[in-house]
């Protein structure tokens, strides 16, 4: 902007001088150059190729190098709006989960029956009517947004009054856990001798026998390898807490390994130090 403003008088000057210069230069070609070219002229108007070539230095062209100047700053100074602010005004009816206010940071705090979202969005946790209020007893200078159950109700409620809550439940016949599992049975997988069954669908035969697996390895599936011991009938000894001999051996092995790792670490460090020097 500034630049263009600065340039306009220069251009005017140029235009004032140019006709005389050009006429002297292009007398042989044409004598039809008029000062009318100073007037604004729509580009879409069909100029003769000749005159357009003549007028080229006069028309307001912004070259790429000029146009890009300051563009980076301009857009960063004026980014797109984030659509923040109140989505529900005071007294409006909201249901649980309804977004009341979007903000950066906590300009407003969640009051009664409201909660704060991950990006500090305030949303309702109960159905009711929105209230914007101050609560000096709770905090001297915070602004709160709350949800009131009654249309004409007032917030904040006094500090020593029992809190007003809603049950929001309905009574249904009790369902035992066993029944629940059958109700959810379409997502249970049963592993039998003949393969995996998900609900009533058998799993694809991808797991049968050695096949080409990721990494160009021709082998069995991982889960089959994992069950090899089971198939072979190898059983591990049950863990005995009171077997202190085993515990001692394990502890010793762990200590040895720790010592080994430590020594390796030191070696690495020493090498690094040498390389640095």
């Amino acid at each position: 902007m500034l630049q263009s403003r600065f340039l306009t008088p220069m251009r005017l000057l140029e235009r004032a001088i140019a006709p005389s210069l050009r006429s002297s230069q292009s007398l042989t070609r044409s004598s039809t150059t008029t000062p009318s070219s100073i007037l604004p002229r729509p580009i879409s108007a069909t100029p003769s190729p000749l005159s357009s070539r003549l007028l080229l230095p006069l028309s307001q062209v912004r070259h790429a190098s000029h146009a890009s100047q300051g563009a980076g700053n301009r857009h960063s100074r004026d980014p797109a709006g984030k659509r923040l602010g109140a989505k529900r005004s005071g007294g409006e009816y909201v249901v649980p989960g309804c977004i009341i206010f979007r903000q950066r940071g906590t300009k407003w705090f969640p009051g009664e029956n409201c909660a704060l979202g991950r990006d500090h969005t305030i949303y309702a946790t109960e159905a009711g009517y929105v209230r914007y209020y101050l609560d000096p007893e709770r905090h001297p200078d915070r602004k709160f947004i709350g949800v009131c159950f009654e249309k004409e109700g007032k917030l904040p409620t006094p500090r020593n009054a029992p809190s007003r809550r809603k049950l929001n439940r309905v009574a249904v016949p009790r369902i035992d856990i066993a029944d629940e599992s059958t109700a959810r049975s379409d997502l249970t997988a049963a592993v039998g001798a003949d393969g995996v069954m998900v609900a009533s669908v058998t799993a694809a035969s991808a797991a049968q026998g050695p096949q080409l697996r990721p990494g160009y390895m021709y082998r069995e599936a991982n889960w089959q390898i994992g069950r090899a011991a089971e198939k072979a009938g190898i059983t591990a000894k049950p863990y005995n807490r009171k077997n202190r001999w085993l515990a001692w051996r394990k502890r010793q092995a762990r200590a040895d390994r720790a010592a080994q790792m430590k020594s390796l670490k030191n070696k690495k460090k020493a090498k690094k130090g040498k390389g640095g020097r």
Binding site: C98, A127, A161, L167, N168, A171
Partner: protein
């Protein structure tokens, strides 16, 4: 253990006997205080008839975890910290008055002198109080003035009693060993300080964060330490308790930090009983007892053992939570009766026979009670709830609560005519 014993080798080592095993704790024969000769011969006879240390460990000296565990299983708790017990094993255990450190003894003299001054102050103040009491009311400047002056003096007297003993190392040691005599003001003061440092803060936080305070009572400033036990296991304020654990009435340990005896009312109130008609919550009193005496020395109160004829208004009712219901807060309040005067049990029993929707606020106003202690535990649906429900005949055992589906707001056009 090794580091423990190493850390505790004090300067006392120079006084240590060549071989001191199985020292009798906290007793030293004054006849042989500074002798470095062996004591073994003298005590040889007594050692012979005694059992070895690992068979009968001394609670004041035991330092190995295994022996400590054995003692605890027997019901004897070890005294003080393990580090100190380990230190005592190797020390000659000389009383403070006989320790050969000059600076220490000079410091002790200063403390003793201060104590003498405080004792003199106490006797002077007592005389002053008795003089004021003897004076007729008109001469003292009216009843109100006399009362307030007496009250102030009594308060100052209690303060002086604490100040007289607060610098005594023996008192500090006894208190830390858990051997403090709660009938004495200094130990009550120390116990109060310790309680306020952590346990009271936790309690106040729990009862305010879980909103027991505005829901059940408008205000409570706990001044007694309350511990709650179900089947001999302690419950922290706000813990979830299994339904079958809370079928029997809990035991309480109410520690008063003031002198004298108080008569209190104990109430257990549940403010979370779901009410489907009103779509809200009701109150239910699970226990109510009046005229329960508590004092600094007698702290144990078993709610099941209180007298049915003169104390228990509403006996214990096991708390159960319906499936799907939000958790129930079972709040226990200890309310001081006005001037520690007993309430008329028969009248209270006649009036407070209903459990449902009996507000503690009303009771508080009706009988001029003041909340001095609180505790809280929670109950929710668990594996044992169903059998407890069957046992106590809970009517809504086969009903479950489900979240009500809330109708969404009506659809709002994204592009109404006003936008175009």
């Amino acid at each position: 253990m090794v580091h423990c014993e190493r850390a505790s080798k004090p300067l006392l080592q120079c006084l240590q006997k060549a071989s001191t095993k199985g020292l009798p704790a906290l007793q030293v024969s004054s006849t042989r205080t500074f002798q470095t000769s062996a004591r073994v011969q003298e005590e040889a006879q007594s050692e012979a008839q005694k059992l070895p240390f690992n068979k009968s460990p001394d609670p004041a000296l035991v330092s190995s975890p295994r022996l400590e565990r054995r003692l605890i299983r027997q019901g004897i708790s070890p005294v003080g910290s393990r580090r100190r017990r380990a230190a005592l094993q190797g020390s000659a255990n000389i009383p403070f008055a006989q320790l050969p450190y000059q600076c220490f003894q000079e410091a002790r003299k200063v403390l003793l002198q201060d104590r003498e001054e405080k004792l003199a102050d106490i006797t002077r103040l007592r005389e002053k109080i008795s003089r004021l009491e003897a004076r007729p009311t008109e001469e003292a400047g009216g009843e109100q003035v006399k009362k307030s002056r007496l009250g102030g003096m009594q308060k100052h007297l209690e303060h002086l009693k604490v100040l007289a003993d607060i610098n005594d190392p023996q008192v500090k040691k006894k208190f830390e060993d858990g051997q403090g005599d709660m009938s004495k003001p200094i130990y009550r003061y120390l116990a109060d300080q310790k309680w306020r440092e952590y346990r009271r803060k936790i309690l106040v936080q729990r009862i305010t964060q879980m909103k027991v305070i505005p829901d059940v009572l408008p205000h409570c400033d706990p001044i007694v330490d309350t511990k709650l036990y179900f089947n001999r296991s302690a419950v922290q304020p706000g813990d979830f308790v299994l339904a079958n654990a809370s079928t029997t009435a809990p035991k309480l340990d109410i520690q008063l930090f003031e002198g004298g005896e108080k008569l209190v009312t104990i109430a257990v109130v549940d403010p979370d009983v779901p009410n489907l008609e009103t779509d809200g919550f009701d109150f239910r009193t699970h226990y109510l007892a009046v005229n329960v005496p508590i004092s600094a020395t007698s702290t144990k109160v078993d709610l099941a053992q209180l007298s049915v004829e003169s104390q228990v208004v509403l006996p214990w009712e096991a708390p159960v939570t319906q499936k799907g219901s939000p958790y129930h807060r079972l709040s226990l309040f200890i309310l001081e009766q006005k001037d520690s005067q007993p309430l008329d049990f028969a009248a209270v029993k006649a009036k407070e026979s209903v459990r449902d929707n009996q507000l503690l606020r009303t009771l508080q106003g009706r009988y001029h009670l003041k909340a001095i202690g609180a505790h809280l535990f929670r109950s929710q649906w668990d594996e044992t709830t169903l059998e407890v429900m069957e046992k106590i005949g809970f009517p809504l055992a086969d009903v479950e609560l489900r979240r009500k589906k809330i109708d969404p707001l009506p659809y709002k056009r994204r592009n109404p005519s006003t936008f175009r």
